[in-house]
């Protein structure tokens, strides 16, 4: 597509000459590299609660971030005003990080701009759709949840969409653009029985338009699942406390990988030698059954991107192959300093944030075992199928993830549901305890939000059914 088709040119009068000027200003004190990140982001949200449409919201974010790199140093400034004087001021502020007197010289921006490919080709962006269509989805969810069981007393269904235009221009003469759609529906249910209350939650979505909300992502399917989880909890016993054998179900339990190894393999922590995984490339960190990848190229997935937030194409990156650690997730800064190839993992929350290495869609490849056989092989253990959030201490390697739907396994059979409990383990060693990997890889339904250094971004995770020989379960029942 031609440069003049970009929204920043059409709507905001940014010219190729402007881009060259801004980059020259950014390098006016001698930085090694500079880039501009233009962003125009529109979000809509609608909330249904107590059977009425309580609120509708539109949010518009427009701005440009200017980054200057000098050695290991990063200078950053941004402006939510795209007029020339403001962007030049931001460029000069970012330039301050470098302190040699030399000038950056002239920079040539190529036209046309490149767009590498399209992983989310859709006819209509969610921002352009009628509010009434979105409201109908929420009403469907509300009715389905209430119809599921009379004990469902509260339903909160929300719809969120995002349409994000980005234009990234670098002092190396690269310019690329993208339009990134993202939609999601969440359904939260509160059930009441004999004065006791329980909650259930389910959500789903991806980088697509409203046509994504069919089959298991249909509002009524999400609602029933949310209601089912709330009702199930009335029967839940206290969760066990202590180490035990654990079987994780397929899909969202992949949050294990995200916390246990994903963050620890982000290049910045390894470049600075602050990760528990520092120096472990080439070593065995998991059982032979484990192959783990981060893949930003899966069409329509929540964690997918045509290009990362530094303008580089996303990849499929093998992190662990048959148990052996292969490498790290790179952004531009770390890849240069570590002399390692780019992996397309430089991501940021928005124009007001500095990019850093982040995950996209992170999952374990399917193995050979039938899921039922894995469960049959456990004498006494925990079967965890649905999770809330997780967190990791990169440096010590200790991570947690919290089960919100789990059952006891007794003599090879899934028996009583147990209350939510946090599981805690050690990232560099937990995957060595994987003793079976199912043939049923599933990605999550599109709800992942990953936080790092105060920046949140959408991600996805996936897992086949796996068995872990021993992990500590944080219940109350000794």
């Amino acid at each position: 597509m031609e440069v003049n088709k970009s929204i920043f040119v059409q709507k905001h009068n940014v010219t190729t000459q402007d881009l060259e000027t801004y980059l020259s200003e950014a390098l006016s004190r001698g930085g090694d590299y500079a880039d501009l990140y233009f962003e125009y982001r529109i979000n809509h949200s609608i909330v249904l609660e107590e059977q009425i449409i309580k609120s509708a919201t539109k949010s518009v974010n427009l701005g440009v971030g200017v980054r200057v790199i000098s050695g290991e140093k990063t200078g950053y400034a941004y402006s939510d005003d795209l007029t020339r004087e403001h962007v030049i001021k931001a460029a000069r502020t970012a330039a301050f990080i470098a302190n040699s007197a030399s000038s950056g010289g002239t920079i040539q921006i190529p036209t046309p701009l490149s767009q590498h490919r399209n992983l989310y080709s859709i006819p209509t962006f969610p921002a352009e759709l009628e509010v009434a269509q979105k409201i109908a989805l929420l009403e469907e969810a509300d009715q389905a949840a209430r119809a599921y069981d009379a004990r469902i007393k509260q339903v909160q269904a929300s719809y969120i969409d995002e349409t994000k235009h980005v234009l990234i221009v670098t002092s190396e003469g690269k310019a690329s653009w993208d339009i990134q759609p993202l939609v999601r529906i969440n359904v939260m249910c509160i059930a009441e029985e004999n004065g006791k209350r329980q909650s259930g939650y389910q959500g789903g979505g991806g980088r697509r338009s409203l046509d994504i909300f069919t089959e298991n992502l249909a509002p009524k399917a999400l609602a029933r699942e949310s209601a089912r989880q709330a009702i199930l909890q009335f029967r839940a016993q206290d969760a066990p406390a202590g180490p035990m054998e654990v079987v994780l179900g397929p899909g969202w339990p992949g949050i294990l990988l995200h916390e246990a190894i994903g963050h620890g393999l982000e290049a910045d922590f390894n470049r600075k030698k602050t990760s528990a995984f520092t120096g472990l490339v080439g070593q065995k960190v998991a059982s032979d059954l484990c192959t783990v990848v981060d893949d930003g190229t899966i069409p329509f997935r929540r964690g997918s991107l045509n290009m990362d937030d530094e303008g580089n194409p996303t990849h499929q990156t093998v992190l662990i192959e048959k148990g052996v650690l292969q490498g790290y997730l790179q952004d531009r800064l770390s890849s240069k300093l570590m002399n390692s190839p780019l992996t397309g993992n430089g991501r940021r929350q928005g124009y007001d944030h500095i990019p850093m290495p982040r995950m996209t869609n992170t999952f374990m490849m399917s193995g050979e075992s039938a899921p039922e056989d894995i469960i049959k092989s456990v004498k006494k253990g925990l079967y965890a199928v649905h999770f809330g959030g997780g967190q990791v201490d990169i440096t010590s390697g200790k991570f947690v993830f919290s089960a919100s739907e789990a059952y006891l396994i007794e003599d090879g059979h899934v028996t009583a549901p147990v209350k939510g409990a946090t599981l805690i383990g050690d990232g560099p060693t937990v995957l060595r305890q994987v003793t079976a990997v199912g043939n049923d890889l599933k990605l999550d339904q599109g709800v992942g939000i990953c936080g790092k250094d105060g920046q949140t971004i959408p991600v996805s995770v996936g897992l086949p059914t796996i068995k872990i020989r021993e992990i500590t379960v944080g219940g109350t029942e000794k």
Binding site: S45, E49, I52, K54, S55, T57, K58, S59, V60, N61, L62, K73, T74, G75, Y76, A77, Y78, S79, D80, D81, T93, F96, I97, K153, Q154, Q156, I190, R197, Q198, S199, A239, A241, G242, K272, T274, A276, D352, I354, G388, G389, G390, Q391, D393, T395, S396, K398, F399, V400, K419, G420, A421, T422, I424, G425, T472, V473, G474, G475, T476, K478
Partner: protein, 449 residues
């Protein structure tokens, strides 16, 4: 650039013109500076001025909201018009509407001492130095400190203006800074990271770089050689930053929005004993120079001090205009606008009042137990109170701290945890709008080996 108040005024007038029966608009302007120094060198330096407009319109009892970072007249007009259109598509909500006029006492807003203009006299080099000195202090504390995730100095000056169509027009501004240090200690058993920080609105309130760096280093070093322990049921002592996370859960449970949704373990319990008698919690928006202090909330309601728990008895929930109407109560000045402009409930200075004991007294009272220094994960269910989180701590034997512990969880239920608070420390530590002192809980399950 037009003045913030006139942009807010313009937005609500535009809303009326396009058919809104009522509207309010809030504008924030943040002038921010942050620097991170790592291993003695500047790693990142970031600076910007950003603005955002949040508009809420009503057509009778229907409402819609919007947010924009682009404040040019044409964009604001178009967005306000669209917001009014969206409001036509939402439902009638009997509890909707601006806070009643009676609640908006015009005029004498209190001076809460939120601004310190002397920050302006700090040059960028001096600001960078604050971070450098902090990190240097950590690195020089002990040779066990071998690495660092850096030290950061962050400063913001924020201005807020709010106007509505029933006559409220107010503004305030404040300054604030944070100095934080994240050193890494290493021994043959592995690496451990910890941090310490100080936050203040005024320069004199910010901790000395040397103290912050040394304390952070000491905290990292004491975690070296951490090991698992056997699963047990013991008393636990929370350090002030961990106690703060407990107060965060309590805040969520007393928010009017959780109460009307019946999604809190504290519904229907006003006047009842929900905590041990040594526990008193308050939300005090008028604390001079408080990190969470504001003269009026994000709906223009004057703020106040609200007793949450007095000697163990639950007194009040925190309310916005909407939740107050839903629950037949009064707004408490805790209306808070999220980034998208929707009004939710926010804390001001929400803290557990200090008690008589030093942290040493409290640790000294424990025969066998754990002193918790970090909690990770999200295993807290506010609906049921069920609690299960990853923990790092130091084992207590005969009233003395012995060896560090990690890869364990602590679990219980918030209902019982509040009732089992046995001792309250005198060391309330404010690093944000929620704060607490050292606390001892008589009994929790620690899950380990």
């Amino acid at each position: 650039m037009s003045d913030l108040q006139s942009i807010a005024q313009h937005a609500i007038e535009r809303a009326k013109k396009s058919g809104a029966t009522a509207a309010d608009a809030m504008i924030r302007e943040d002038d921010t500076f942050s620097v991170t120094v790592r291993m003695g060198e500047v790693e990142t330096l970031k600076e910007a001025i950003s603005r955002s407009l949040m508009v809420r319109v009503f057509i009778g009892k229907r409402t819609a909201t919007s947010h924009s970072s682009d404040l040019s007249d044409a964009i604001v007009d178009q967005l306000v018009d669209e917001t009014v259109e969206m409001a036509r598509l939402t439902s009638e909500d009997q509890s909707g509407g601006l806070p009643a006029e009676a609640v908006l006492r015009e005029g004498s807003l209190p001076d809460l001492n939120l601004i310190d203009r002397s920050w302006d006299s700090l040059t960028p080099e001096q600001r960078i130095n604050l971070a450098s000195q902090t990190e240097a202090a950590a690195l020089s504390t002990d040779k066990l400190i071998t690495n660092s995730d850096g030290a950061s100095f962050e400063y913001a000056r924020s201005r807020v203006a709010l106007a509505n169509t029933i006559g409220f027009a107010g503004k305030y501004e404040g300054t604030g800074a944070v100095l934080v240090c994240v050193p890494i200690a290493q021994s043959k058993e592995g690496m451990q990271r910890d941090h310490w920080l100080s936050a203040a609105r005024h320069r004199h309130g910010l901790g000395a770089p040397e103290d912050i760096g040394k304390k952070a280093a000491t905290r990292a070093i004491r975690r070296l050689g951490a090991r698992k322990i056997r699963t047990c049921q013991v008393p636990v002592v929370f350090d002030p930053l961990c106690s703060r996370s407990l107060l965060n859960h309590l805040f969520e449970a007393v928010s009017g929005s959780a109460i009307y949704r019946r999604s809190s373990f504290l519904i229907d319990q006003i006047g009842e004993e929900v905590a041990s008698s040594v526990v008193s919690v308050i939300d005090d928006a008028r604390m001079p120079a408080g990190l969470g202090s504001v003269p009026f909330d994000d709906e223009g309601v004057p703020t106040q001090a609200t007793a949450i728990i007095e000697n163990g008895v639950l007194r009040n929930y925190l309310q916005s205009a909407y939740t107050a109407r839903k629950l037949g109560s009064k707004p408490t000045g805790n209306g808070s606008r999220s980034a998208s402009g929707v009004v939710t409930i926010g804390p001001t200075n929400f803290y557990l009042k200090s008690g008589p004991y030093t942290p040493e007294d409290i640790i000294g009272s424990v025969k066998r137990g754990m002193y918790i220094v970090e909690l990770i994960g999200f295993g807290v269910n506010t609906v049921t109170g069920d609690y299960s989180r990853g923990a790092v701590g130091i084992w207590i034997e005969d009233g003395k701290l012995t060896h560090p512990v990690h890869e364990v969880t602590i679990a219980g239920n918030l209902r019982e945890m509040l009732k089992n608070i046995e001792m309250v420390g005198s060391d309330v530590t404010f690093v944000g709008s929620i704060a607490a002192p050292t606390l001892k809980i008589s009994n929790m399950v620690v899950s380990g080996e």
